[in-house]
Structure formats: structure tokens, C-alpha cells
């Protein structure tokens, strides 16, 4: 069936190196999905539709990081056909878990996984979309919070600034009335340096935050590392903690480098 012509704003969803979890968040809006499609034209979303409407698109959501030379070119094409471009998730905003290669020799990585590494074409670094093209807004999380995603879509459709707080997980945690896991149980927590957005999910489940929303604005990582050291966390474990789903986000990368033996 040919897509019908309409004057609704056009939405496109693009995928680069990722797990699909962030774009799945859109389909996970079970209660809002049909209402949303009444307001916007889902013009390009290969994982949900084989219909393909030509650009330009009013809003492009980009998931995933750049890891191949082909993708490094493709992202420029995406930018050219997009009025607004919003990156969704840690892969797109910081390079994701696959940016752990950035600290190692990618050739060695290739030969660990593949018997014939020469067939594999890959860049030595996994990088954020904003390292390649202008990005209008970055939505954090591994995965993103679907309500924040709806807010961002709404904001761009109505030409306003998205209401996405940049303070720390601690703020949400206190607001939720959680007992601090670091104070009460001596459990290391990255909440003080991690951007809010998850409603302090891990501490609510009695677990320390592991930083999946990436660094907040100007985080005091040094002070937090000292706290962790007082709790008996080794340098190796500090490096591991900063090098996970947002390993290549600047603040986490620098702090991890400081502790590398």
C-alpha cells in the first residue's frame, strides 16, 4: 500500500551500531503509540514498517554509534534530510558499550571474535553521532526512558525546548525518598555523577547506580572516586565502573584514565 499523503510532520528513525533497545522504547509506548501516529507521520522506521517515505524529515531519531567508514558517511546523509536530529541512547550520545574498543587495539578484538578478521571492516573507535554531525538534542540512557522520548518528540513538534533535567540521579533519588545505598549499606553508587532520567531506578531496587545515563553536567567525579576508595573500591574496579555503557563520554573517560594502573 502506498503511504497516503498528509501534512503531518514526518518522523524518521535511524539505526547505527546498537542493540535496538532505544528504538524499541518507541514501540514500548503501547498506550501512546496510536495517538502519536495520529499526530506524526512515521515516514521512515524500518524496524516497524516497510513503507518508506522520502525525506526531508521534520524529526530524525538516531540510535547507535559510528563504527564503520560506511556509517560515517551515512550519518551525513541522514543529517542532510533531517530538519531536526535527536540522538537517542548511550550508543548515539557517547559511543555506547562498544566504545570499550577505543581503549584497546581493535585488530586484537577482531581476531578474538573472528577466525578471518580480514573480512571484517571496522573503525578503530566507536564514536558518538555528535562527533560527526550537528545534533539538535541528545537524549541519554542505556536504554532511554520512553516518557522522556515522548517529551522530546512533543517538544520538537511544538518548537519548544525539551524539558529534560540535567541534574544528578541523587536528586531524583532523594525526591523519591530512597535510603541512600552508599550511606546506609556502603554500596558504591555512581548516582552523584550520573544524569537523572531513570527516576533513580537502581537505588530504588537497593542497587548502586552504574551510570547508564552517562555523566551529568560538570560532575565531580574526583570527589566520588575518593568516596568509593574509602569504601574499599580498588583502582581496577573504579576503571571498570567508569568504563561501561558511557565509557567514552568525556567526564567518565578522563576519570577512568586517572585510575588506570
Amino acid at each position: 500500500m502506498a503511504p497516503q499523503l498528509s501534512h503531518k510532520p514526518k518522523l524518521a528513525v535511524w539505526k547505527f551500531a546498537s542493540c535496538d533497545g532505544c528504538q524499541l522504547s518507541l514501540l514500548d509506548c503501547e498506550d501512546e503509540l496510536l495517538a502519536l501516529t495520529a499526530e506524526v507521520e512515521v515516514a521512515y522506521f524500518p524496524e516497524a514498517s516497510s513503507a518508506e517515505m522520502k525525506g526531508p524529515y521534520d524529526l530524525s531519531l538516531v540510535e547507535g554509534s559510528i563504527t564503520t567508514s560506511h556509517d560515517a558517511e551515512r550519518i551525513h546523509q541522514v543529517r542532510r534530510v533531517s530538519k531536526h536530529l535527536v540522538t537517542i541512547g548511550a550508543c548515539a550520545t557517547s559511543g555506547g558499550i562498544q566504545a570499550l574498543r577505543n581503549f584497546k587495539d581493535v585488530k586484537e578484538f577482531t581476531s578474538i571474535v573472528y577466525a578471518r578478521p580480514e573480512y571484517i571492516n571496522t573503525l578503530s573507535k566507536s564514536t558518538a553521532i555528535a562527533d560527526h554531525v550537528f545534533v539538535d538534542f541528545e537524549l541519554r540512557g542505556c536504554p532511554i526512558n520512553k516518557y522522556q522520548l515522548l517529551e522530546v518528540i512533543n517538544a520538537f513538534l511544538h518548537d519548544r525546548k525539551p524539558n529534560i533535567p540535567t541534574y544528578s540521579v541523587c536528586v531524583e533519588c532523594k525526591r523519591r525518598g530512597n535510603l541512600c545505598v552508599m550511606v546506609a549499606h556502603g554500596t558504591p553508587c555512581l548516582g552523584p555523577v550520573t544524569q537523572a532520567g531513570c527516576q533513580a531506578l537502581c537505588p530504588t531496587y537497593h542497587r548502586g547506580c552504574y551510570g547508564c545515563y552517562g555523566p551529568m553536567e560538570s560532575p565531580n567525579t574526583q570527589a566520588l572516586s575518593q568516596e568509593w576508595q574509602k569504601l574499599g573500591v580498588s583502582a581496577v574496579d573504579l576503571v571498570r565502573a567508569y568504563r561501561s555503557f558511557n565509557a567514552y563520554a568525556e567526564a567518565f573517560r578522563k576519570e577512568s584514565d586517572r585510575h588506570e594502573p
Binding site: 551500531a17 503501547e30 518508506e52 586484537e108 531496587y205
Partner: protein, 430 residues
């Protein structure tokens, strides 16, 4: 000599990116390549040197559609390496959250990805205009599955509450009981879905497969069991690498797993249903029989019926588990980290997902092997395409292309697992 090439720029409605190349010479299929272009992410490489306790959260990021399969595969492997047995209530919660993942993932595939193929729409969104109730039902079933995931796991995608030895925080019995009304509705809705799916038009396409699935002595296997097949395979999961191997093919970044002795094999709903039919609930069995499925199902297009049956089973099983749940006083059991090798294998919605880790005395990972379901089905998909194109070569190219896409979608290939989709190319020369 005529040469015709059909290209599709994106094989849509598969969770990921890949492509299909079919070479036809003198009206005979000469070559089929199911290509996977997803840039490699090197999980097995960067797991080296990480702590055993990080493996569940890290491997979850292989696939956002079936994170529980990865988390539990890693958790079971570590527990296996440490010689740890978890108590029944922990085991119960794991099976329960897995039922949620089956419901969520199967409903996504049935209603949003596969049904539009059968009914002739581009997407569920387009289909919703003519079939609003069907799409609404699918969304609600999916939401109920997701609700189990977020209640126990903290969120739908990449839950945060699972760990080696148990959980961080246990749900209370009354929290779980809050799911009962929805799950009872889900049983009815899934039953109706089985009936509806049975009325879809299926191409006549029976294949002679080797089916491989987990089998458990007392239950329809999800989280544990031994590996069996209809051709006599019967091995503990620890022997996986003795019987299966992964091959690298130039046209794909996903490794293709094959049985060393016999080549390609099929994993997923068809395999589970055919091998473990007797262990389904009476209601799921009755629904299957009413849908005309009682013996072995060898038509992969009918996987949509079987996924619907498994949604019904998962909803019923979730109700049974909730009714017997009694939380322990501690969310996690004590264990001692020790050097060793551990194996984990569970039934992801798309089929078995195998993990093996070697860890040292500190619990640091020395090496990791992960075999996701899609890399196992990949060479079976190629074989199906070969058969299918050979038989339906007379179809107009457009129709053939659409049907080929459907052959691939029958497997619900979560390409992120193995990795991802781009174009279809039928290269004909006479």
C-alpha cells in the same frame, strides 16, 4: 541473455539490518546469501578482563528485545562455574520474568512485524486503520509482558534487578498478584489470537528440519534443561561446543552456527513446540489442536500460530508461578567465587542462546563465548530461501521479493543478536 536484478533498500520489519542475495541461472537457484551487515560490536572481546558480575548487564546490551535471555545465560554460566544452586523461589522469579519476555517479544513479532505480512500492510500502524481491535489486542498483550519485566526487573529494556545468586530486591507476593487480572485477560486474548492466526493464508511449504531445543523433565523448558533434537541429539548444555561450531562466512558479520555432524538446524518456537508439545498446558494444547497443529509442524510460516500458542502458555505459566510464589528473606544467596568454566543456555524467544565463560580465582573473565539464536538459524534461513525461491521462481519479482522477506521474518531474526539488514537482490541470468 537477460539479466535482472531486484533491489530493496532495506529489509524492513526485522529488528535490525541485513540483506538477501539470490543468484538464479537458467531458472535454477545457484546461490543464496543471507547477508548481515551490522557493524560488529565485539562483546566477546571486551568481556575479557571484566568482572563476572558485570557479564549479565553487559551482555544484555547485545539485544534490546531479549535482554533476559542474555542476562540469565550469563548468570547461569557464572553460577555453574561457582557450583551454585539457587533456591526454588529465585528460580521461579527467573522463569516468571522470562515468561514476560516471551509475551513481550512474541506479541511484538506476531502483531507488529509478522501480521502485516499476512494481511498485506506495510506496518501495524497502517494495519490499525482496518484492524484496530487486533492491533490494540497486540499492544495490550505486549504491555502485559513488559509489565512483568518492569515489575520484577525494574524496567522493560535492560532490567537492572537481576544478578548472580538472585536479585537485588524481591517483589512481594501481593505485588505479583497485581498482575493476575491482566494475565487472565491475556490468556483469553492469546487463545483468540491462536484462532485468528490459524485462519491466515499459509503457503504450502513443509521442510525436513532438524529441530534443536532445551528439554526439561518436568516443564516446558525455558530457563534450563538438556539439548535435544528430533535426530537423536541428547546432550548436557556443557557439551554444546563439542557438537556445534560457528563458521565465519565472508558475506556476514554474524557467525553461523552448525551442528558438526549434520549441518544446519532450526531453533525457536517451532523446535520447542515440536519437541516439547506434551509439556504445554492442557489449554495451550487444546488451542493448538483446534488450530490444526497436533503432530509436528514443519511449515515455518505457521510459526505465527506457534508464537501465539506460546503467548497463551506463558500467560498461564505466569499465573501458576505467581500463585505459588513465596519470597525468601534474602534476595540473593551467598556464594564463593572460584576459578572455573561455566555454561548457561536458555530459550530466548527466538531459540536457544548459549553462553560459556572461563573465570579466574578473582572472578575476572578470561574468555567468553556467546552463541545467539539468530546466528544458529541463519544458515537454516538460507536453506529455506533456496527451497522457496526454487519453487516459486515463476512469481512476479515483486511478489517473490515480498515472500522472501516473509521467509526471513518467519524466524523473527533479531539481527542485533547476531548483528543487522539492508537489501534484497535477485540476480537472474538465463
Amino acid at each position: 541473455m537477460s539479466r535482472k536484478t531486484i533491489k530493496v533498500n532495506y529489509l524492513a520489519r526485522v529488528e535490525g539490518e541485513g540483506a538477501l542475495y539470490v543468484k538464479v541461472r537458467d531458472n535454477k537457484v545457484k546461490e543464496v546469501q543471507f547477508k548481515i551487515f551490522e557493524p560488529p560490536r565485539f562483546f566477546e572481546a571486551f568481556l575479557r578482563g571484566r568482572k563476572y558480575s558485570e557479564a549479565p548487564d553487559i551482555t544484555a546490551r547485545i539485544c534490546g528485545i531479549c535482554p533476559i535471555a542474555y542476562m540469565l545465560g550469563a548468570i547461569h554460566a557464572m553460577e555453574n562455574a561457582f557450583g551454585l544452586q539457587v533456591p526454588p523461589s529465585i528460580r521461579l522469579l527467573r522463569r516468571l520474568i522470562y515468561c514476560g519476555e516471551w509475551m513481550e517479544s512474541h506479541s511484538l513479532h506476531i502483531f507488529m512485524l509478522h501480521a502485516p505480512d499476512f494481511l498485506g500492510y506495510d506496518s501495524a500502524i497502517a494495519m490499525a486503520k482496518d484492524y484496530p481491535e487486533l492491533v490494540q489486542r497486540g499492544l495490550r498483550l505486549k504491555k502485559i509482558g513488559n509489565h512483568i519485566l518492569s515489575l520484577i526487573g525494574g524496567r522493560e529494556v535492560h532490567p537492572i534487578n537481576l544478578r548472580v545468586g538472585g536479585f537485588y530486591k524481591l517483589p512481594t507476593a501481593s505485588e505479583l498478584r497485581s498482575l493476575v487480572d491482566d494475565l487472565s485477560w491475556a490468556c483469553e486474548a492469546a487463545e483468540a489470537t491462536v484462532q485468528w492466526a490459524a485462519t491466515l493464508p499459509f503457503p504450502d511449504f513443509e521442510q525436513d528440519y532438524e529441530f534443536v531445543a532445551l528439554q526439561h523433565p518436568t516443564e516446558y523448558a525455558i530457563t534450563e534443561g538438556q539439548l535435544v533434537s528430533n535426530r537423536g541429539l541428547e546432550i548436557p548444555i556443557s557439551a554444546f561446543l563439542d557438537h556445534f561450531e560457528e563458521r565465519q562466512v565472508p558475506h556476514s558479520t554474524a557467525l553461523q552456527a552448525v551442528l558438526k555432524a549434520r549441518g544446519h538446524y532450526l531453533v525457536g518456537p517451532l523446535a520447542r513446540f515440536n519437541l516439547n508439545f506434551d509439556q504445554l498446558t492442557p489449554r495451550a494444547k487444546a488451542a493448538a489442536q483446534a488450530a490444526g497443529l497436533s503432530g509436528t509442524c514443519r511449515n515455518p510460516f505457521k510459526s505465527i500460530i506457534i508464537r501465539s500458542i506460546e503467548v497463551l502458555f506463558a500467560a498461564e505459566e505466569a499465573l501458576r508461578l505467581i500463585a505459588t510464589y513465596e519470597p525468601m528473606s534474602q534476595p540473593v544467596v551467598d556464594y564463593t567465587v572460584q576459578a572455573g568454566t561455566g555454561h548457561g543456555c536458555t530459550e530466548a524467544p527466538r531459540g536457544i542462546c548459549y553462553h560459556r565463560y572461563r573465570v579466574d580465582a578473582q572472578g575476572d573473565i578470561l574468555d567468553a563465548r556467546i552463541t545467539p539464536p539468530t546466528s544458529q538459524n541463519q544458515s537454516m534461513i538460507e536453506a529455506d530461501l533456496w527451497q522457496f525461491v526454487d519453487r516459486y521462481l515463476d512469481l512476479p519479482d515483486d511478489q517473490l521479493r515480498a515472500q522472501c522477506e516473509q521467509v526471513i521474518r518467519n524466524y523473527d531474526p533479531c539481527i542485533s543478536c547476531s548483528t543487522h539488514f539492508l537489501k534484497l537482490e535477485v540476480d537472474r541470468k538465463n
